[in-house]
Amino acid sequence: MRATLLLEDGSEWAGELFGGCFPASGEVVFNTGMVGYPESLTDPSYSGQILVLTYPLVGNYGVPQSRINGTADLARSPFESERIHARALVVAEYSRHYSHWRAAESLHAWLDREGIPGITGVDTRALTKRLRHRGTMKGRVILSDRESPAPEPEYDALVQLVSVTEPTIIGSGRQRVALIDCGAKAGIIRSLLQRGVSVLRVPWDYDLSSERVDGVVISNGPGDPKLCGPTVENVRKLIEDGSIPLFGICLGNQIMALAAGADTYKLKFGHRGQNQPCMRVGSRRCHITSQNHGYAVDDRSLPEGWQPWFFNANDGTNEGIRHRDKPLRSVQFHPEARPGPVDTDFLFDEFVAMLGSKGGGK
């Protein structure tokens, strides 16, 4: 069956349908990673987006067992959340046959079960060049001219939709870290649990002032940070207090910046991939990072007391900020990886080392 991706600029990208037999609509973004489609599709940050993969062959190793019950189970699974968050998937060459000892089903079967359409046979390089040139655009996947269009994502409420509704505690470590869930990847929880702390996962707008925690992580998530007013407000309080170590990741970096009084802006087409080089400010150390973001922190707007921590070696944009003397730091990339390189995993070690040592950890 044919399916077409229609872009805001009027261009049409036709291919063959696979996965769910439904229309879709969302913001169209591309990712340059060469592996990791199960991880990407379940990353809540892709909520409301149509994902284009630049690597042409997709589906080769199938999809592992994907039924997950609850957060604790999620922490062990290879997925980043309970379901697929991307609205649709666009690839050049879907591999109908898969092979892997961990595979339980094909990508097609999984997408189908989750009701997510895929298009194969698209010149994804040409499509990527257009997105790069014109900037991120909205788009629709249509199966025929007659059908009624898929509803647009509620771009203003993406974080609400992907966050948890109730606080839960995971793990039994003595030290407790609160995770403000704006659409958190399971990998963040996993990375914390591995280091022996317990995680209090709270909704995006949860007020932590009555909780006793040793540290707070502000998670990744979809969309514009400026739509996360309550989160920014809560983080501002934590920053003012300044005694609890804070660590922001991706959207969490932007929320940290807004809470500190700095500004954020939308990038033309964002950074999505597994090969982004990030330099640590003031050093010659460069790390290869996994990324997925469409907004960035404006370095120049950082208030007194804050400084850039990392920057993108390709285009110079901000990749992290830190407070000069308080244990407040955040990064734009994904130290929890999945998909992508695990090189910046050590940031979790550094964060956990700061817990309970008020104001320590430079």
């Binding site: 050049a92 010149d123 080089p277 390709n314």
Partner: protein
């Protein structure tokens, strides 16, 4: 971000010497890139490399070039004279690395204050000594296969019992799996271990990981501890087939994110722990059914795989590695491809790359055809596509072995499919498709091969599409079917075979449906940033071109040489690179087409646009349809483009230089012979073969031996010298297999004649430049295997006068404009022509560099109709001599008969200079592995005439105090002439002392075995003697003339007489 490093003022680079199996063109690429990078940093570069055909030894690269053996004493001599501040050991393969380790051990670097740049020597040792390596990895919790290093066969047997059979044997300080092997039984372990221990002090006895996936990562690390992996690659063939012998894909296809990044993390951990600075390669085994993985090895240098990774990603690994060695950090080096980003990143590919090795096993009589843990391939091809079948089928065509894709060709057939799948030969990939076509299940195929199901499914797709195509035999193809086939890499010609239409008809059908390929860029970043790259490929999975075709100025397309193979290797890359450089100087935009990842011509900075794609009619037409060049140059890349010329011309493409009609007149042996007759130029008597009876009658008339020669071949493929009717019939049958469309001729084989080579450039039929070289060996040894001397030392002046005159006549008759080469046979002063190639020949770089006159620059000017200037320094007045010697790789070709004949067998060559013939000759012979002095020699000097001929030289050897071993006939002959020898039993006689044991025990320094017949088909004593010599690494001479020159040189020259003089000083 200015760097604070202190760069050395001068740096010595060691090359890898002659091309051989396991160490081929990739090191010309890496060395050349390193030299360019150093020059850009303003460093004075000194290069030692006897490989005269390389680009790295060109006048425009290193400041000082020494055509000397890469051997510690010679290199020490160079260091003493040049006093470099630094040395690079990682750019010349195992040869350079091992030489560097010895120099370090001898304290030479310390004595002269030479800094080893990049990876420290201690770290290199850790990677090369297999036991130290395993111990070191254990420190960081990284697993290697269970193993133990041993120094004796008995020890190996004991360890093997502990580990359990089958056992894997590997040696250190080597490459290409030399000496390695899988041993299912005690006996095979003993056999393998004995030979392996003859070539190395220690071997590793190891558990055999059956059916595990084999993967490689290319890693860069700088002095600041920044690490990136440039590329990962997956072998289609599971562990047990050397990566150099495997079909390899990049990036990996069957790894999940978790596996990809777990192996990547281990790579980085290992490389940091070992302390490597620069580039290295790490190989893994991964269990296909669990999370288990093992590290197989680390190569702390540029390698075959790094060249492949570099071409597969567009990341200039060698150039960056050279800068890291100088102390730069990855963050200080720009990404030369995008020019906006920097070198510290990991390329994202948006295409698939398939590499397939090119073997030439069928050229070797008796060679074992199965492939395994030791390398036998002589080159490789790399194809790029947006689907796996597209890249795979392109690559199979690129091999130029007659396959038009994975399926559709009839000539590849198998007697026993199951055996082929279980014990693979170079043709296994075709057997997979055959088995599927025959309805075998993938499970059965997987059980036999252990190839991952993903690959099998992809191959099955191709088989399925072929079956669909066949249903339309004779008719028109629906657009959808045709497009699907094109996206799966089917060629027009291949589709034609399947639907029984001509290639041309398929092409017209395709174009009328608007199905044309797109041109895509390789930009290292999957289109994330705009790239200035000129690195391109064609694909049918796409809807728009990445580049436009409206640039100003005329362009010229140069066709490259394709895969390195016997008879065509780096020398033609040198020609192509020089042609492109000249075209640039003449103001043309240069387009290059080639698909060989080991070349410099496919480097990002050589031409204006690089099409990394096929060299055949279809692809060249598609490129020309887009680019509309002024014309195509077919005379620089050897035989691959040369034989395309008539087809290209017939399709209406302008061929620059000598016309395609003339090329046909020279290549078609029949037309050429007629031309010579009409010009009254003498040639060996010949006839065109119509039937075996006629051929036999001709042979009776002129007298045996006769030579069977097919047309349009290179390197004497399927040629043979027949001494009787029975042999004649056999050779004729074989020749017809090789060359279906072209005639086969039989000519009188002339014995005892000299062979002389003319390399020349003509413009509009007038010879403008030439060089004459003579062979040391008599005619009958293929010119590619012969030892060449320039200027000639033993050729009469009258002979050369005649040769010049004939050359002029032929050039005029064929209206040559460009490079050409004629081979002559001379006896007394009678000169006969044996063949003429209207293209650059193998010896163009040699004559250019010896004469210091760039023949290709001149030839390119002639091709473009520009004036050619020659300084007319007659080469007879050179006050030095150049000698080119062949390199053989027989040790790796199990079973092959290491004897010289009319069919070429060498894999590479060197060229050295000296004040006298003997000096240049001995330097060259030493560069290809012959000793400078010997204590003992085994003589077996063949028929009585050659025994007598050699006697005088045996006396010389005796006078030098050399110990003689001899086979019975030779020994008795020498005894009758008063020379004392130890007479040994022939191998088949079994008695002791025997030739076999004497060689195996290491008692012989040199074997001289002159065969009694031309081509022996059965296992003879002579064959066994020769084979034993190469199996145990003992230098072997099988040609009488060569033996005589070697004896003279050994007598006349001592090591001190071999002067350390750079090219510039001659």
């Amino acid at each position: 971000m200015k760097s604070t490093i202190t760069k050395p003022k001068s740096v010595l680079i060691l090359g890898s010497g002659a091309l051989k199996i396991g160490e081929a063109g990739e090191f010309d690429y890496s060395g050349s890139q390193a030299i360019k990078a150093l020059k850009e940093e303003g460093i004075h570069v000194i290069l030692v490399n006897p490989n005269i055909a390389t680009i790295q030894t060109s006048e425009h690269l290193a400041d000082r070039v020494y055509f000397l053996p890469v051997e510690k004493d010679f290199v020490a001599g160079v260091i003493e004279r040049e006093r470099p501040e630094g040395v690079l050991l990682g750019f010349g393969g195992q040869t350079a690395l091992n030489c560097g380790l010895q120099l370090e051990a001898d304290g030479v670097f310390e004595r002269y204050g030479v800094r080893v740049l990049g990876t420290p020597v201690a770290a290199i040792r850790l990677t090369e000594d297999r036991q130290l390596f395993a111990d070191s990895l254990a420190e960081i919790g990284v697993q290697v296969p269970r193993s133990r290093a041993v120094g004796a066969v008995e020890e190996a047997l004991v360890i093997a019992e502990e580990i359990g059979y089958p056992i894997m044997i590997r040696s250190g300080f080597s490459l290409g799996g030399l000496g390695s092997g899988i041993c299912p039984t005690k006996k095979s372990l003993r056999d393998t271990a004995v030979k392996a221990l003859a070539l190395a002090d220690h071997i590793l006895v190891e558990e055999y990981l059956h059916g595990w996936k084999e993967l490689e990562y290319e890693v860069m690390r700088d002095g600041q501890d920044n690490c990136v992996t440039i590329c990962n690659m997956e072998n289609l063939d599971p562990l047990g087939i050397h990566t150099g012998e495997s079909i390899v894909v990049a990036p990996s296809q069957t790894l999940s994110n978790e596996e990809y990044h777990r192996l990547r993390e281990i790579s980085i951990r290992v490389i940091r722990h070992l302390g490597i600075v620069g580039e290295c390669n790490i190989q893994f085994a991964l269990d296909p059914e669990s999370d288990e993985c093992r590290v197989i090895e680390v190569n702390a240098r540029l390698s075959r795989s790094s060249a492949l990774a570099s071409k597969a990603t567009g990341y200039p690994l060698a150039a960056v590695a050279a800068r890291l060695a100088l102390g730069f950090s990855l963050t200080e080096i720009p990404n030369a491809v995008t020019r906006v980003t920097m070198a510290c990143f990991e390329p994202a590919l948006d295409y698939v790359v398939v590499k397939i090795p090119r073997w030439d096993l069928r050229k070797f009589r008796r060679a074992v055809k199965t492939i395994g843990t030791g390398m036998k391939s002589v080159g490789e091809v790399m194809a790029i596509g947006r689907t796996f079948p597209e890249a795979l089928q392109k690559a199979l065509r690129m091999l130029e072995i007659g396959a038009r894709g994975l399926i559709g060709d009839q000539q590849i057939s198998f007697d026993d499919l199951e055996e082929e799948l279980r014990h693979p030969t170079d043709e296994r990939i075709f057997a997979l498709a055959r088995a599927m076509d025959a309805g075998w299940t993938l499970e059965k195929i997987h059980d036999l091969t252990r190839i991952d199901f993903w690959f099998l499914h992809q191959i099955e797709e191709v088989v399925r599409i072929a079956a669909t195509l066949r249903q339309f035999a004779g008719g028109d193809l629906p657009g959808g079917v045709l497009r699907e086939a094109k996206q799966a890499g089917f060629a027009d010609e291949q589709i034609g075979l399947l639907i029984e239409r001509s290639e041309d008809a398929v092409r017209r059908m395709r174009r009328s449906r608007g199905i044309v390929p797109c041109v895509k860029q390789i930009d290292t970043l999957a289109a994330e940033y705009p790239a200035a790259t000129n690195y391109l490929y064609l694909t049918y999975q796409g809807r728009e071109d990445d580049v436009t075709f409206d640039q100003k100025g005329e362009s010229v397309l140069v066709l490259g040489s394709g895969a390195y193979r016997i008879g065509s290797s780096v020398e033609f890359d040198w020609c192509c690179v020089n042609a492109v450089r000249t075209l640039k100087k003449l103001g043309y935009r240069t387009l290059m087409a080639n698909y060989n990842p080991e070349t410099v011509s496919t480097d990002y900075d050589e031409c204006d646009r690089l099409y990394f794609d096929e060299l055949n009619l279809e692809t060249v037409l598609e490129i020309c349809a887009k680019e509309r060049p002024k014309g195509v140059v077919v005379s620089m890349g050897g035989q691959v483009p040369n034989i395309l010329a008539p087809q290209l011309a017939a399709a209406g493409l302008p061929i620059l230089g000598t016309s395609s009609a003339s090329i046909d007149r020279a290549e078609d042996r029949h037309k050429f012979s007629s031309l010579l007759d009409s010009l009254g130029i003498d040639q060996p008597e010949w006839t065109e073969v119509a039937s075996i009876e006629e051929a036999a009658a001709f042979a009776e008339k002129v007298g045996y031996p006769v030579l069977v020669r097919p047309s349009y071949v290179l390197s004497g493929s399927a040629m043979g010298v027949a001494v009787n009717g029975e042999q004649l019939a056999r050779f004729l049958a074989r020749a017809e297999d090789v060359s279906l469309e072209h005639p086969v001729v039989v000519s009188k084989f002339i014995m005892g004649a000299k062979e002389i080579e003319m390399d020349a450039v003509a413009a509009n039929g007038e010879v403008e430049m030439y060089a004459i070289s003579e062979h040391v060996e008599n005619a009958g040894v293929h010119s590619g295997d012969a030892t060449l001397v320039l200027p000639p030392q033993r050729t009469y002046l009258e002979t050369t006068r005649r040769i010049k005159r004939i050359t002029r006549e032929i050039a005029r008759a064929l209206e040559v404009s460009g490079p050409f080469n004629i081979q002559f046979i001379a006896r007394e002063n009678a000169v006969k022509v044996i063949e003429c190639n209207l293209r650059a020949s193998r010896s163009f770089p040699f004559v250019s560099k010896v004469c210091k006159e760039n023949f290709i620059e001149a030839a390119t000017k002639a091709v473009m109709g520009e004036k050619v200037e020659w300084r007319r320094r007659s080469f007879f007045e050179l006050d030095y001599v150049g000698v080119k010697a062949p390199q053989f790789s027989f040790t790796r070709l199990h079973g092959a008969d290491p004897v010289l004949g009319v069919e070429m067998a060498s894999t590479g060559e060197v060229g050295c200079l000296g004040d006298t013939f003997s000096e240049a000759f001995l330097k060259a012979m030493h560069s290809v592995g012959y000793p400078l002095s010997i204590g003992s020699v085994l003589l077996s000097t063949g028929p009585i005439e050659s025994k007598a001929d050699f006697l005088e030289y045996a006396r010389i050897l005796a006078s030098m105090g050399i110990r003689f071993y001899a086979t019975r006939g030779t020994g008795e002959f020498l005894a009758r002439n008063g020379l004392e020898t130890t007479i040994l039993h022939w191998p088949l006689e079994k008695g002791e002392p025997n030739v076999m044991s004497t060689i195996a025990d290491g008692n012989v320094d040199l074997v001289i075995n002159i065969p009694k017949n031309f081509q022996e088909e059965e296992v003879t004593n002579d064959y066994l003697v020769r084979r034993q010599a190469v199996d145990f690494g003992v230098p072997l001479v099988t040609n009488l003339q060569l033996a005589k020159r070697l004896v003279e040189a050994l007598q006349g020259m001592k090591r001190e007489d071999l002067l350390i003089k750079s090219w510039e000083e001659y």
